[in-house]
Symmetry: C2
Subunit: 374 residues, 2 copies
């Protein structure tokens, strides 16, 4: 096996792969989209006994490109390049990492903006509303395809962390350990409310047209998506960070507040790469997951899971505040299984799992090093 | 003078009055709207030496109807009826209360939705962007009309509290005392960001048409205003209250979250009584006020004010968090004038000044009782 080419502190990664499902993908709520393509990427090498596979689950706006660059002159590396790589916390020298672009997302997997071959038009509003279980199911489908029957770990943050927990619920024997950050067994009401408002903003944009806007407005990103993203972005930032980065400062010489142009920039950037139908579907999937509601309690949901867990909360995260993470930790411990639980101090809010690599690297490295080799 | 008719724990109030300004009202940014009508109400009786006048300043969505009912069968009394009335904290047995509907608001004063007699059409987008100084100026105009040269107190919460502080800055000798709740010398960045997002939501609604929507959509309230109000409403609620009142509960038997239908109810109710052009103008006025920016520091702004102040913060208010109120308190104390500063514990967030009368009545009563009689 060739060692990967190094590019600065990252590496040259393989291009995305695509698993074609001619029979289609059946969503939990009953609809089947056929044919269906699952985009995924792998990093590092699967060892002979297939015992070093780590599934990484991505969050709302990310994709299967966890780490590395496709080309040396790519502006940015994968979305978790700070944590996953050669010599990094999830070390590709010894681990094989898989990530699947989730159903509903528009980053390679068949999506609302994909063309339905049955009528030559984008799926639009007819695309199903995915669930976290569907996301797990799509990952399981890729793992089956790769012949992987056991996962050393499942790791992710935010929506990714919710998938991690759902893995422990649905496939407790297959999962050797879990690492979930800035995440919980359900989105608390404040997060739900902001998600709901974001969806209403998108629906308020008349150009959205109930989700069937591709042919009418292909050239222009939807303004509703931009503004909804601003709402989402606010939930990722701590008040401390807002005060320090922007405060009430103006964009001299204009009277515009810096926070205004920052939100505009974020909204517009996002709308160029992401799709409104995907956005509302993925956020809705987050909101619908509720292990306590679905299984009677978080403890009951996780009762069959007996493997190590690393749960990381960030003190300024107000989308998944520390008490929500603590609930998961306590539910696991109540089943008689020990769980490693950290509350990390940072001003980076919810996004800390994508920023504070100096704070999360050592805990993840230690956690993986301490896993029993079976 | 006849005593007012009692209606339960409130009273029969006088109808609104209107001060007509044939020469118009000149806004701080230079525009004049002429003719101009200022709607105001008065409560109680002005004493002979005109020493018992208390100006109450209303907040974003309120109006001049501070207390009492216009008719015995009115569903609701005035917006501060819990604090202002016969035998209440601001006691109408001994005080004369004045409240003016602020320029930009659509509750009686000439507003963006008023007809411009010059062309027979609503002002719409041509209506000026008011400032807090304009609000104070409008109140001063009414007081001049009533022959009131001294105010025993100026009182208000939220945007009303910002006007209170501006009174202390602009007319320090006329103001005998100030009472400001859930308010500060500037809206912090988190509040600005939500206000900005709210304005963008309204502007995203194509029916808004840049503010000239009255003739095209007179029958239907703007959806953008409804959703923007949901954003605003969120900033008034504490996370604690959200958790207790709604949590993740569903509206059985539908899968809809209770918080969703609550936000819809609030948004729709608001859009039936309030106007989008007024909403964005008043929020923008809040955002633009910044005593530290305008005067060099809060202390410099308030340097000429030597009278008693009562500043009340609520611990769960995240629009005007307690540290912002403390800044005003400290700035006043640094000028050598003592200030009464309370941080009240409540789960009612920013709206506590409209809810927690059992917590604010005694401090206001004591504060007014202790004022020197001059």
């Amino acid at each position: 096996m060739r060692p990967p080419q190094r590019i600065g502190d990252t590496f040259l990664s393989d291009p995305p792969r695509f698993l074609e499902l001619p029979e289609g993908f059946r969503f939990r709520h009953g609809q089947t989209v056929a044919p269906f393509t699952l985009a995924y990427e792998t990093f590092g090498e699967l060892n002979e006994d297939k015992s070093n596979a780590i599934l990484v689950c991505h969050a709302l706006s990310a994709n299967a490109h966890v780490a590395g660059k496709y080309a040396a002159d790519d502006a940015r590396a994968g979305w978790w390049d700070g944590l996953v790589g050669y010599g990094k916390a999830i070390d590709l020298q010894s681990n094989f990492v898989i990530c699947v672009n989730l159903p509903g997302s528009c980053m390679g997997t068949t999506a609302p903006n994909s063309i339905d071959p049955n009528n030559g038009k984008p799926y639009g509003s007819s695309y199903p509303w995915a669930t976290i279980e569907d996301m797990v199911h799509s990952q399981k489908t890729v793992l089956d395809h790769l012949g992987i029957e056991h996962l050393k770990a499942v790791a992710g943050g935010s929506l990714g962390g919710m998938q991690v927990l759902m893995w422990a619920v649905l496939y407790p024997d297959m999962v050797g350990s879990i690492i979930a950050m800035a995440s919980a067994a359900a989105v608390p009401v404040q997060g739900i409310a902001w998600h709901i408002i974001g969806r209403k903003i998108i629906e308020t944009d008349q150009d959205f047209n109930g989700g069937d806007y591709y042919e009418r407005h292909a050239a222009e990103p939807l303004r509703g998506l931009q503004v909804a993203r601003m709402v989402g972005h606010m939930t990722y930032l701590s008040n401390e960070a807002l005060e320090e980065k922007f405060g009430r400062r103006r964009r001299i010489p204009t009277p515009q507040f810096e926070i205004d142009s920052y939100l505009e920039y974020q909204g517009k950037k996002f709308s160029r790469v992401f799709d409104a139908n995907s956005y509302i579907r993925i956020q809705s999937a987050m909101d619908e997951m509720d292990l306590a509601e679905q299984y009677g309690s978080i403890g009951k949901a996780l009762s069959a899971f007996r493997s190590p867990s690393l749960l990381i909360a960030f003190n300024t995260d107000w989308l998944f505040p520390p008490p929500e993470v603590r609930k998961v930790h306590q539910a696991i411990e109540a089943t008689g299984v020990s769980s490693t639980h950290l509350e990390i101090e940072t001003m980076n809010g919810h996004d800390a799992f994508l920023i504070d690599y100096h704070l999360i690297t050592q805990p993840v490295r230690d956690f993986l090093a301490n896993l029993k080799h079976d």
